[in-house]
């Protein structure tokens, strides 16, 4: 994107203040710099030659969950996410990716503090082993200091990831492609497994996309456009070559990457752009695929609910908000668990994960997340289901902090239980 494009994007902002009403971060910060209007003003100032401090600017632009609420509420539809990501990318080129986001393995580390971080990570029991997890994996952005850092509660990395657990020839070809994503492959392989088996239950042949380095979203939101673009390019070429009929995403954020974000990484009119269109046309969220596949029609009637209303659904910002796929997940749940599903209190509150925001400012992320799960639990929800990897990571952690009896699952786990109930 050229500066003039950015100017056109920011120029639509009327500074009316609507973004203040929906911003997830504003109640935490109570300062204009947190909201879209402030960030747009900063970028406008930079574009008009105001010579600020690049690091302070970077700080301001990274202090955002990219939940997209401002963009959806904006009377002028200012593309805030696009603007913020573009600003982050420009700054990353100028001052480097912030130390706390520097990739640990396989990539050049520019910041002087990086060696220290690497050492700390090595000391932590749960470092991400370079041999085991692809160097391009988004997990490195999400856990620069290892999974156990900052007193997070996360499960121990399982011995084997989901894809690793597949047989050599298993799920290599099929009309449906499953894009598992880093987290559901490595951290919660059970989600990868249940998604795979439930999609396979549709009767269609299913291939699991094995070459996925990473969807590229964590790199993109970190301002690392080059890594994001190279992930995107590799994925798009291979996905196109496999010629799947549809590509199913258990994770809403991975889906967003292919449905929207890749288009700002790839120049129009190139063959790769055509590949991106091909992929976007076939990319579908897990719930929508299940509904269209007919597999749910084979479900036995859900059991009479003794636990009526105990299962809720959490709306991932990107999946429900940006992509509008909230009703589909609810429909799937209603059919899989019947009256055990009920609308959850605060279903559309952001979980506070925000991709790499959680790493950047864990205390704030945790306050937003604890509030999220507490509101849900007070409303009577005992199981929070959702369909995004970041949300699962965050809410499991938050549940452990506030109410260990609260379960957090992916909807695929519930569908699996219903389909294969004995």
């Amino acid at each position: 994107m050229k500066d003039s494009d950015l100017k056109a994007l920011t120029g639509l902002c009327a500074k009316c203040g609507t973004c203040r009403t929906v911003c997830t971060l504003y109640p935490e910060r109570k300062a204009e710099i947190a909201v879209a209007r402030g960030k747009v003003a900063l970028i406008e100032a930079a574009l008009s030659g105001e010579d600020g401090n690049a690091e302070a600017m970077q700080e301001a632009l990274t202090d955002c969950l990219l939940c997209g609420r401002c963009e959806r509420a904006c009377p002028n539809q200012v593309l805030v996410e696009e603007i913020v990501m573009k600003g982050r990318a420009d700054l990353a080129e100028k001052v480097g990716i912030p130390a706390w986001k520097s990739v640990l393995f396989g990539r050049v580390m520019k910041s002087p503090g990086a060696a220290g971080i690497a050492r700390k990570a090595a000391a932590a029991g749960q470092r991400l082993l370079p041999g085991k997890i692809s160097t391009a994996s988004g997990l490195h952005y999400r856990f620069p200091d290892g999974l156990g850092g900052k007193r997070r509660t996360v499960p121990k990395l399982p011995a084997r990831g989901f894809i690793e657990s597949l047989g050599k020839e298993e799920a290599s070809f099929g009309e449906v492609m499953l894009f598992v994503g880093c987290v559901f492959d490595h951290v919660f392989p059970r989600v990868g497994r249940t998604a795979y088996e439930t999609v396979k239950a549709s009767g269609k042949s299913v291939a699991v996309f094995r070459d996925a380095a990473c969807c590229g979203l964590p790199a993109m939101v970190s301002g690392d456009r080059r890594s994001a673009a190279s992930s995107a390019e590799a994925n798009l070429r291979r996905l196109r070559a496999a010629e799947p009929g549809s590509i199913v995403f258990p994770c809403g954020s991975c889906l967003l990457m292919f449905r929207r974000n890749v288009f700002s990484l790839i120049p129009k009119g190139t063959p790769l752009y055509d590949d991106a269109v091909f992929v976007a046309d076939r990319a579908v969220d897990y719930a929508s695929f299940l509904l269209s596949s007919g597999v749910l029609d084979r479900l036995p009637d859900p059991p009479e609910g003794e636990r009526a209303g105990e299962i809720g659904y959490h709306d991932p910002c990107h999946l429900t908000g940006t992509l509008g796929k909230g009703p589909e997940a609810r429909e799937v749940l209603s059919r899989a668990v019947g009256p055990e599903f009920a609308e959850m209190a605060g279903a559309d509150l952001c979980c506070g994960y925000g991709g790499t925001f959680n790493v950047r400012d864990y205390p704030t992320s945790a306050r937003i997340g604890e509030n999220k799960v507490t509101v849900a639990a007070r409303g009577g929800t005992k199981v929070i289901s959702t369909a995004c990897s970041g949300c699962v990571l965050q809410m499991r952690d938050m549940a452990a902090r506030t109410d260990p009896s609260l379960r957090v699952v992916h909807i695929a786990e519930l569908v699996h239980q219903a389909l294969f109930r004995k």
Binding site: G11, K15, C16, K30, A31, P75
Partner: protein, 463 residues
């Protein structure tokens, strides 16, 4: 600002004093599109911190500019002479809601919509409803004496301010008014402060009048071929002795601006629309809604639609509230005026405005509170064509002259700020200006509070 002053503020506010360029840029704007960089931003959390800020300002002679949500249209919160922007964002507690005596006590940073929602839960009603109510603050509303959609029936902010606590320009904390239904002891300092645009005092707490929440409401959208007919319908409604809680007019261009956000099907020939609401006891609302429909039809409405449920009502209101920011889609610069004329001169005013647009070759979009005779006249320009800009400013001046000439005012609810300062005297006359300046001297002898506003000021005009 001198380093000594900044260090004193640092002692007072710690990390709630911000001086980085980035932090200051974020407090350099409001909804006017103009920008003035402050030297610092502070976030007080109580009246004492506000008071001590103003005391420091008197000692070191720096301006203090109070700011709520920065959503004003006249530049009220712009730091035209630099100094300190005092943000009330962190003074945002609703201190009390008294359902027996029907009042609420709030800090200035409470968002208007938040108070409305909070008292609604108790069956109470805080009527003022500026289009910005979801983000604008009560402190800002009081400073500007904000109006809104329901002013035609319920009045404006000043009608709901019973008493105030405020820090004057001297750094003294004054309490004005009452927490009772009546009170006539001495001069009405409360009304003096309401609408004073932060130039006389900084409100640190307000006692606001509440009324019982109306039982029900009905919302209608009546479509006409043009503004003249809409205006005639408004007068016919008043003549029919109905007082709707809102009579909002939108011209065709205004509606088209929000079409991208929320499509509205319009029959052919639609040139203007009235958004009408009646509230009260259920039976009465039904009767009045029917009557409004009848009156509109009799006065040439092409179509009258009635929202069938709360959801439909919200949609109609969202349409109306989105117009102002959405005008940005038409042109980058909006000269946004809010004249008021006697209701029975509305038609003449609309004729004058369409003639003016043609004569000055500028696009003029009109919408607003037709029931109050309050028209938001928006002159849309590129901002890059000097001749067009000159013609637009001529159009503004002619509009103001016309408004005053027919017995109206140049601003119904946005305030003077910097954008109307050049025309203050046109309406209130030289003596009016002189008396106002004398009063300013009583409240703020050193000119600390929000300098460059209301009265003509070269620095402000340049911005």
């Amino acid at each position: 600002m001198n380093p000594e002053a900044l260090s004193a503020l640092g002692d007072l506010f710690g990390d709630r004093l911000r001086t980085s360029l980035e932090a200051r840029i974020c407090y350099s704007f409001d909804a006017t599109g103009k920008k003035f960089l402050p030297d610092a931003v502070v976030y007080p959390v109580n009246a004492e911190e506000v008071r001590r800020t103003v005391v420091l300002a008197n000692r070191h002679r720096f301006p203090v500019v109070p700011r709520g949500a920065g959503s004003g249209f006249s530049g009220g919160s712009l730091p035209v002479h630099g100094g300190v922007v005092l943000s009330t964002e962190r003074m945002d507690r609703i201190v009390a809601v008294d359902g027996e005596n029907l009042y609420a006590v709030v800090e200035p940073g409470v968002v208007t919509g938040t108070l409305k929602e909070e008292v609604r839960k108790k069956g109470l009603f805080y009527p003022p409803d500026p289009a910005s109510l979801k983000f604008s603050t009560l402190g800002g509303n009081i400073a500007e004496c904000s109006g809104g959609m329901c002013a035609v029936k319920y009045g404006v902010t000043r009608d709901y301010v019973l008493g105030l606590e405020a820090v004057l320009g001297t750094g003294e904390l004054v309490r004005t008014g009452v927490a009772t239904a009546k009170g006539v002891v001495g001069y009405d300092l409360t009304r003096m402060l309401v609408g004073s645009e932060g130039t006389l005092g900084i409100v640190t707490r307000a006692t606001l009048r509440l009324i019982p929440l109306p039982e029900s409401a009905a919302t209608l959208l009546a479509l006409f071929d043009g503004n003249r007919r809409s205006a005639e319908a408004v007068n016919a409604i008043v003549a029919a002795r109905v007082t709707p809680s809102a009579m909002e007019l939108m011209d065709r261009t205004a509606i088209d601006c929000v079409q991208a956000l929320m499509p509205v099907a319009l029959p052919e020939g639609t040139g203007s629309a009235l958004l009408l609401e009646v509230d009260g006891p259920e039976g009465q609302v039904e009767r009045e809604a029917d009557l409004l429909t009848e009156v509109c039809r009799a006065h040439g409405a092409i179509e009258v639609r009635r929202a069938s449920d709360a959801h439909g009502r919200d949609d109609l209101w969202k349409l109306r509230r989105s117009i102002s920011p959405a005008l940005r889609r038409l042109a980058p610069v909006k000269l946004n005026e809010d004249i008021v004329v006697p209701r029975n001169r509305l038609s003449d005013m609309f004729d004058f405005l369409s003639d003016l647009a043609a004569r000055k070759r500028v696009a003029i979009v009109n919408f607003g509170h037709a029931g109050d005779g309050n028209i938001h006249v928006n002159i849309m320009i590129s901002g890059t064509d000097a001749d067009e800009t000159r013609r637009a400013h001529e159009a503004v001046e002619e509009t103001f002259r016309k408004a005053v000439e027919v017995g109206g005012t140049i601003s119904g609810e946005h305030g003077v700020g910097i954008s109307k300062a050049p025309f203050l005297e046109m309406e209130v006359g030289p003596l009016g200006v002189a008396v106002m300046k004398r009063l300013k001297g009583c409240f703020d002898p050193n000119g600390i509070l929000n300098p460059g506003k209301i009265f003509l000021d070269e620095a402000a005009v340049r911005g």
